[in-house]
Symmetry: C2
Subunit: 375 residues, 2 copies
């Protein structure tokens, strides 16, 4: 076993999930995550937690879904009872084929999700954490060699989280106190004529909203490992945003997305590839045309895009805006934010020609923060 | 996938577990049983059952147990709730290393078993079935090539169970009506002098006991696939039994066991190898020196011993006696049979020089039954 797998397990159990003696833990193990499961089980044994291990196999799920007639029972009692009696759920991702469920009709997947909404809520009510074990399938999706990809994953996961949490607290403080965010990125190739503008200049309100310091720990309302982002729930967006990072939406690659906002709503859009997928997304429901999230990636252990949103949106020197559902953690008690059946992150690289302003003051310029550069 | 894996899944789901629409099923998947899990999930989807998949990994269990201090919580709520709300539990065995837990101290395993006795009872209260997917590790333990072992397993599993159940019903009828069983096997090498006698001549009472027609289906109180045995709970054994099939007891190979009974209790014993393991077994508790089971193997698809009791004790033309715990299904309502913390099967080949008598009438001779041969 790669010695970093044990370090990964220690971060997951101690920093992220804060497992304590007597905790009832559900360990969900993807097909390729066996080694991490062994390392996590060792840590859980040391801590005196109680473990039920689940087999989160894409191929088992595919076979079941394809064979089922689609009329799923609502929240089967055994599944619901398992999660309702769990303190923590640890998802160890890492498949052997990232396209393993490619031939499962989307409607069937959605029908199962709708039928088991109660079980999902019960899972989300625990101290859950999602992480990923590096597999060859994920390396392939990232366009990387296996050894190279393992280095990439551990660089992202094995951070000094306590120190990063301290850094991110500064940004959270600024966003919590602020009213308006403006994101500007000049178009480097802008020649005022040939091709569409790649320029971003978008403004949104964050008045009354609370930012989450997503430091990869349930103690910070943060449920991903790796994490490394500060996010909030913006509204009333105006202007245009260009997203230069390719995304996979509904299984299809979408590039060079441009969204134009008026009064918080997307009024115009374009994409350089698979624009119809973007159009379908924005047509899902009313909330799909409004923003649900503004996130600032702060994990500088992530140095490239790997077609995996768990990593991509956390990359240092990036900003993401999500259309669709807002997270409750960002909303004042009792207030309903943007609602939608979808939440899709779109990412832009802000390491160059960029600035982020809060109430007219520059907070980040070309990926560097005010407190780093002293501007 | 081997097409027989799908046939195996169909037998498991339809004949053995009798899965119906809406059943809440827990699928426990060993490390090497992935293909069978996929095939079973497909069947469960077709039937409209609801599935929670568990990862029954020996290596995960080993890591957890070794790291734990041994002071286990009693029946963790999430595990208990899962099984209490399940209709069926399907155990898909098939490890990648049959010795994967060899360095886990026995006391720790026993401590966990004691602490989670309630969860075990909840599992056993469902329509549970244990089966096994052929893996290279099991082939190795059986001393067989992988392809050869797969043929062996499917020959044992893919029987005409309905027809075998009909055959076994005849034996059950005889045992249910009978009072006394005598098993005799001549010593083929018996020369009245050199070496210990390998002769068996043992008599036991079965008066008032009920035989189980173990036809690999919960509909027959039978929870193993493959199965193929008729068993009951004998008492008051007298005489000597020799077991020529090697057994693994507490992880050690024990050969050529001889037990002598007086008044139902073992009064003398010997073994050709690891006799101390046998001595420890018999010393476990008072019940460990008395019989808990007499079983007649009837699965002629099993043509050799493979160091796996799930198969060995079902082999056609064999008889097994277990020291230790008796099964409730064989006992009259309210009557307590032999009690013990152990139940260890010892097997003898009765294909030659042998006969089984019930109340003085020969029922089986050299492996052939009365109704087959007309005696």
């Amino acid at each position: 076993m790669d010695p970093r797998t044990r370090e990964h397990a220690a971060v997951l159990v101690d920093w992220s999930a804060r497992i304590e003696p007597g905790d009832n833990v559900v360990l969900q193990v993807a097909e390729g995550a066996h080694d991490l499961a062994v390392a996590v089980a060792e840590k859980l044994g040391e801590r005196g937690a109680n473990v039920v291990s689940g087999y989160a196999s894409d191929e088992v799920t595919r076979a079941y879904l394809r064979a089922h007639d689609g009329d799923f029972d609502e929240d089967p009692a055994h599944e619901l009872a398992l999660y309702r009696n769990a303190d923590s759920v640890l998802f160890l991702g890492g498949g052997r084929n990232a396209a393993a469920t490619a031939d499962v009709p989307g409607e069937k997947r959605q029908a199962l999700a709708r039928a088991t909404e109660g079980a999902r809520e019960a899972r989300m009510a625990t101290d859950w954490v999602s992480t990923v074990h590096p597999t060859r399938a994920l390396a392939q999706r990232a366009g990387m060699a296996y050894e190279e990809y393992r280095d990439f994953v551990y660089e992202a996961v094995l951070r000094d989280w306590e120190s990063l949490a301290g850094e991110m607290a500064k940004l959270k403080e600024i966003l919590d106190a602020g009213s308006e965010v403006r994101i500007v990125k000049e178009d480097p190739d802008g020649d005022g004529g040939s091709g569409p503008s790649r320029r971003t200049d978008v403004t949104m309100s964050i008045e009354g909203r609370t930012a989450v310091n997503s430091a990869a720990s349930v103690a910070y309302d943060s449920h991903n490992l790796p994490s490394g982002e500060v996010f909030t729930a913006p509204y009333a967006a105006e202007g245009t945003a260009f997203f230069d990072v390719p995304m996979t939406i509904s299984g299809k690659r979408v590039r060079d997305v441009r969204l134009s906002f008026e009064g918080g709503e997307v009024v115009d859009f374009a994409a350089g590839q698979n624009e119809d997928v973007l159009a379908d997304l924005l047509d899902t429901d009313e909330g799909a045309r409004r923003l649900g999230e503004l996130g600032v990636g702060t994990n500088r252990g992530i140095d490239r895009f790997t077609d995996n949103v768990l990593f991509d949106e956390k990359m240092g020197d990036t900003i993401h805006l999500a259309v669709g559902r807002a997270y409750d953690a960002c909303l004042p008690e009792g207030e309903e934010g943007n609602r939608s059946a979808v939440h899709v992150d779109l990412i832009t690289d802000v390491s160059e020609n960029s600035r982020v302003e809060v109430d007219g003051e520059v907070v980040q310029r070309n990926g560097r923060f005010r407190w780093e550069e002293g501007f």
